[in-house]
Amino acid sequence: MTAISSPESRAASAVSKSVPRRRIRADLRSERRAGWTMAAPAVLLLLAFLIIPVILGFVLSFTNARLISPEPTSFTGLDNFVRAFTADPTFFRSLLNTFAFAAVVVPVQAGFGLVLAILVNQRMRGAVAFRVIFFIPVVTSIVVVSILWKFMYQPDGLINSFLDAITFGAWHGTAWLNNPSTALTAIIVLSIWQAVGFHMLIWLSGLQTIPGELYEAARIDGAGPWRQFRDVTWPCLRPTRVFVLITITIAALGLFVQIDVMTQGGPVDSTSTLVYHAVRMGYRQQQIGYGSALSLVFFVLVLIVALVQRFLTREKD
């Protein structure tokens, strides 16, 4: 970047022909200095609390580091990963649970969010109020939501008595969270309930970018609501769709709070997840090295998802 191409220095020399070169160079130098100074706080903080921890996590994955330990930390190669994949059945179960959770939540939450978005996008009175109502769970803390649903899932709780009422007593309640075959499903329901409003809004902003003329043209060609959705809405939502699916996938793979508050991974590991297990080993049992290795596995999954996103969004150009 030369002094000539700088708009500032050009402007400066236009004002006064006698501005010396020195002045121009000083101006550029002050711009450079200002740039560095103003970016510095954010850059240093990100370096200290994001980039270094990422690198540190990578390094610790190959050690036996503990939070408080009499013996010094030493390099153990791939031991942590070998242990995870061969000698830790809870890790394997956690991985499966995490995938099962994501496999249900991603399509259901994305689809449900789209249905909500289409409903509140109708030009009718009260649509805004419904949009606000559907979004309320999103601003409610997931900790609060988890406790509330834990209460409702009690054997003598709201969910069971509701099911009892609508089936006229044919339903005999189950202890949703204490039953290994229902616990994860119960958590899936409240997770979708809490988060779907967020993705409704993302879909909605996608829907509102579709030009109205496209629908008009489709109507003139005799397309009904379903044809309009299939041939106009769906193709136009492609970028939104990629974004929604990717963000839900990454969030679903990181499932933690609901587990920690509601089940602590139980019963018999049926709700243990990757992040929950990493925190349990790395923090509660103070095996920082092993916990970091498990976090790295999670990170690799997220990276794969991000790469898929890049691939999908590149394709359209």
């Binding site: 450079r32 103003m38 994001l50 979004f135 803390s141 709201l158 990717i246 920690d260 920082i288």
Partner: protein
Amino acid sequence: MAEHALRRRRRLWIYLAMAGLAVFFLFPLVFMFVSSLKPDGQILSDVGGWRAFLPVGDISLRNYSGVFDRVPVGRFLLNSVFVTAVVVGAGLVVNSMAGFALSRLRWTGRGVVLSIIIATLIVPFETIAVPMVYWVSQLPTLVFQNGIVQYDFGWLDSYEVQIVPFIANGFSVFLFAQYFSTIPTAIDEAARIDGAGWFTIYRKIAVPLSGPAFATVAILTFLPAWNQYLWPSMVVQDENLRPVMVGMQYFFQDNTAWGEIMAYTSMITLPVLVVFLAFQRAFVSSVAASGVKG
């Protein structure tokens, strides 16, 4: 005429669907607020019918005073308000300055810094939480003891450990940079000719013109800061420093008093709900803005 009737019927169905969904999204919260006003015994006996959602029977604020007796909830609320305010406030300053530098100033390394900041967006906090505990336990800190400043290690059990790591945020920087780049650079040039420094241009020109960007970033950083759970539950053991979400653990230690728990959860949910309903429009456009990443 027939088409008109058809459309009216369709409209009716849509209203019915939306009303049903509204019930689905609201019933747990209504149940929470209503139960917080009832004694434990009545909560359980009301659960079988409509009374579960109606503030009837033995209604009082006794659960709320019970919460205050059982846990230092005032202290928890104060801690959360303080941590959230500093994270959001300092974040607005730090991230907007970086966004300004990255979008309007030319300096060596700008391209590299920008791409690193974009790259940080894909790192979920959960992936670095465990190594971060190790990392902050090694960081140097200054301790004031008996009037002398001492040098010590470890950030555990402090406000800074809850605040400092969350001030800088790659996505906030990105949103600011994007917004600032829509302001014409001719304004900067004119101000430069008038002898204004870059910091003055940022403060007197860029900031006042970027209200919507500040609102968006404030909203998007407010919720996660208020809702922090994983991190403080790992690094803050001191009761005097705990935020509201972690303070909840006290209720599950001995016998579970659901009425008081509902009172506590209502108390920490209500402020956020009020803020949301008051600034509903800004929340909605902030979330929409967070979709631009795609």
